[in-house]
Amino acid sequence: MKNHPDDYTKPELMACCGAREIRDYDVVLVGTGFPTMCANIASHTHAPNARLMQESGVFDAQPKRPALSVGDPCLNPGAAMIGTLLDIMGMFLQAGWVDVGFLSGSQVDKYGNINTTVIGDYNNPKSRLPGSGGANPMGSLAKKVLIIALHDTRRLAERVDFITTPGYIDGPGARERWGLPPDTGPQVIITNKAVMRFDKATGEAYLATYHPDTSIEEVRENTPWDLKVADDVHETEPPTEEELRVLREVLDPTRKLSAYERRGYV
């Protein structure tokens, strides 16, 4: 019987939700922060043979401090392979070897489309965001895409202002029509209130589990589309003792994840 301590934070719960999506031997393309934490929890628990890579060209890094970017110096010493952007994005991702990719964005819509380009009109934006970077190819080509998002009606959207990274685009069949590889696409949206999965028949995200301190109603109120609810909807499993131990003792002794609480992940 698993033990679930209850002194966890929301970012810790979210990181565990991400970790549980990763299977042993998965090849995982990560950014910094959450994705790395998720992948590392997985590799320290149920997925010891998962492998991490960063788009900058690094495979199986052994950083001695948490990386602050995908090009962080600490990713260099001890990695198993350091190549180029094209090795990671072309030779591994485009060639179909990446099992899991993590994404986040300023807007995420019900089809799992993500906007990291502009808020407002493209030509006269209210806010210019960084752009695609590696997000579009990851969302196009990774077998499973895990999306991390803040759960409110501003970050979640019926339709993003700009599809930087395709989810299910405008519904079933759209990825196939655009020639995106079969069996790719968003698998889950992990927010600070819930875990949403995708209905293959409609391409829409539905509520799979809600976090312990919230409710189906609260989640639906904070979701700007008519959120469907799974038949077997239930409370999200809290972090296990083992997951929390790994997270706090091995991966994040200085509690960097708490920075996400200040960003609203509560």
Partner: protein, 315 residues
């Protein structure tokens, strides 16, 4: 054999001679090995109407945009990383300050593929990303040549083709190069090698100039051969505030200062006045750094000592 003597010049000379107003520049770096000494010199010399490209642009591109030297940007991404959105980039796009640059949007797969196509003499390459996204719906100065959609002549499937890029000049920073430009690099590569070899001319900035004999001790590390290089500049600490593997760490607190300064037009201008216009070259920049922040701060950036193993190419 009696090769010519040297291509070693100062950064001032390299930029004055080889970077022209209106040029299309590839600038290497990925936090790792950003050629910041060259970037400052380009701003100092007031170059105009440049087109820039690199995958994952950062503070260096933001600074050039803020300084007004950029007209066009073949982009995938621009941010200050840990320090958030690029302030000058936002001001340019949102408010036209100092002017609105034109942006052609690609991704960290498609853009390096286009540079690879340029480097390898391919007219275009197929890519599997961008499909179905709004990146296909926005076209800027490249117009209909941003990409083409065809049915594959092999199996009829929808295929996106993107064109080769051929920058006028590439500027890269590497660990070491010889006097004629054979440039050697290790650690995170980004799109540096394809970008450099796609360009008509390459300016090599390096931590140290080494002998041709040293280059020949480990030729598998060379990413650009000498005949592609027009200038070699020895610039120790040349990537600061970025890092160079084996030499020095990222200067996060300097990055924070840039973010804070660039929050306002005035702050940004003051930053340029202090760190770009207020110094003549990289030597004065480092001098100023040491005076301003102290030698111990400077020394703390130096890489620790952890060397690997040498290999032999003999037979």
């Amino acid at each position: 054999m009696g090769y010519e003597m040297t291509k070693v010049v100062t950064m001032k000379e390299a930029v004055a001679e080889h970077v022209n107003d209106g040029d299309f520049l590839f600038i290497g770096g990925y936090i790792c090995r950003t050629p910041f000494a060259a970037i400052h010199e380009i701003i100092r010399q007031g170059k105009k109407e440049l087109t820039l490209t690199r995958s994952n642009a950062a503070d260096d591109f933001d600074m050039m945009i803020g300084a007004g030297v950029v007209k066009r940007f073949i982009a995938t991404f621009l941010s200050l990383g840990f320090f958030g959105l690029g302030r000058c980039y936002r001001r340019s796009i949102e408010k036209g300050v100092p002017h609105k640059i034109e942006v052609e949007e690609y991704t960290n797969l498609s853009l390096p593929m286009m540079l690879m196509a340029g480097a390898m003499g391919m007219p275009f390459v197929p890519v599997k990303d961008m499909a179905g996204s709004d990146l296909m719906n926005v076209k800027s100065f490249m117009g209909d040549d941003k990409y083409k959609v065809i049915n594959s002549p092999f199996d009829g499937s929808l295929t996106i083709l993107v064109p080769a890029l051929h920058p006028d000049v590439a500027i890269i920073h590497v660990q070491q190069a010889d006097e004629l430009g054979n440039a050697q690099m290790w650690g995170i590569g980004g799109d540096c090698q394809v970008g450099a070899n796609a360009a008509k001319k390459v300016i090599v900035s390096c931590e140290r100039i080494v002998s041709r004999e040293t280059i020949g001790k480990d030729p598998s590390r060379t990413i650009v051969p000498d005949f592609r290089v027009v200038a070699v500049v020895e610039e120790p600490f040349g990537a600061h505030p970025g890092y160079t593997p084996g030499f020095y760490d990222v200067d996060f607190s300097f990055g924070y200062q840039y973010q804070q300064a660039s929050n306002t037009v005035e702050g940004f201008q003051k930053f340029l006045d202090e760190w770009v216009f207020g110094v003549k070259n990289r030597t004065e920049y480092i001098q100023h750094y040491v005076e301003r922040f102290g030698y111990s701060t400077f020394r703390n950036l130096q890489a620790e000592f952890d060397y690997g193993y040498p290999v032999s190419y003999t037979y």
